[in-house]
Amino acid sequence: MTSLGTPIQGVTLYSFTRAFHARQYELDGLIRKVAAEGFGPGLEVIGFSSLRGFPDRIDDNFVGQFRDLVAEVDLVPTSLAVNVDTGIRRDRLMNHDELVEYMRKQIEVAARLGFPIARVQISLTPDAMESLLPVAEKYGVTLALEVHADQHGAHERVLALRDRYEKLDSPLLGFTADWGATVTGFAPSLLEAYRRRGASEELLRQLVDLWNGFYAEGPPNTQKVHGERFGAFIGLAARNGRPDLGIDFGINGTGLFGPAPIDTWLEIMPWVRHVHGKFFGIDANGEEPSVPVRALVRQLVENGYSGAISSEYEGWHWNNWQDPFSIIRGEQAVQRSAAVNAGSAMITDASEARRILNSHLAQPVRG
């Protein structure tokens, strides 16, 4: 029998995008705030969001300052989110060699900054992941490909990656499980945002009905079905005289609120190296109304998961009326409570987190 997992509490600075973008915090101030609020010990950063000059102009002086700050405030770097910008050129997609070098530079920065994991993205094929394995080995960084709506743990592209991982049998290739793939309802705060943009109650009712219908049908297992659903959201907005909301309905209805059942994660659970605790808000009862946080934490605990969960608040896109820091505080309380209910506990002590993360991952980062 699998022994119970002890997930490590943490947060991604992405949760505070709106405050950072508004220049309310510099990077060091935001990291200090995260530590002071007790949102760690796990700390995740998106390279292209938080680090000026990433990845080509990250000098040793910055690296030293970053490492000193993280040590001072006693946080534990978990994952550096890097991007697979295949479409960076206008005339064509990157070729294979360009892509490997583009990723190598970012993975090198992850190692230099002390992040043991680099979050990579779904546009990497099984062949590309195989080509990046020597890079992962060179820097001692685990590559955790993010499974994010509109994909999910049982999607054909994800299963193809899993099968290649199984063949390659390296502890440095795995997944980041994003809870947005397994959502149970359209986020109420987004409905409120549409209401504030003048959407009628009738349109919102139809929107919820459409999403609930897809939830009942189950998740899209192919890109074709995904495309059809995206089109259905656009059609709904157009039929109701609000074509301006169509793309937004489609992006959020398919790309943020993935309707997969949570047991889809079991398809890839042994390869889950990192988790994005994606969520959209906390209601008056202190619960997440559209993401089954309690069931997801229980699932991780019961499957022996002892990596980090980065709380990832994504309601900031539309919610400009609530404080993201209090929302994160609320969600992490739900996670801790759920872990206790499952017979375990979230790790909140930094030194314990370092020890557990080191054993969860195959080998320490070679920075």
Binding site: F20, F54, G87, R90
Partner: protein
């Protein structure tokens, strides 16, 4: 997306028929010049001619044609870029309606129809800033 912050309030300037405004990225992460695919600058309903538009970031100024191949200079989320164009604006104390349209490619999202692009716009009312 943070479209409501594209235009920086109070940054409208004008001189010798050229008008400029500071703009912020409506996205959470840095983008290279090659992903800044187009813009429009409109003041009081009059748009600057497309070929007169210039984009300044990191102390370098580009035409949009030059941005197409620019993968070395990046627009960081905390930095203001400057969008300028040929547009005479009266330098009096009256309020002007400023509109900026932006088209950005999202380089890591590849759809069946190619690289995803987003089109965002923002409108704010302001006076010409005194230099």
């Amino acid at each position: 997306m943070i479209a409501d912050r594209i235009i920086e309030q109070g940054t409208l300037t004008t001189q010798d028929g050229r008008t400029a405004v500071e703009v912020r990225i409506p996205w959470y992460r840095a983008m290279p010049g090659s992903c800044i695919a187009g813009a429009a600058l409109t003041v009081d309903g009059v748009a600057a001619p497309e070929d007169s538009l210039r984009w300044t970031m990191n102390n370098r100024t580009f035409s949009f044609e030059e941005l197409v191949d620019e993968t070395g200079e990046w627009w960081f989320p905390l930095d203001s870029a400057v969008l300028s164009g040929d547009l005479p604006v009266a330098e009096n104390h009256s309020e002007h309606e400023v509109r900026v349209d932006l088209k950005l490619y999202i380089p890591y999202i590849i759809t069946d129809h190619g690289v995803l692009h987003i089109e965002e716009h923002d409108t704010k009312t302001m006076k010409v800033a005194q230099r």
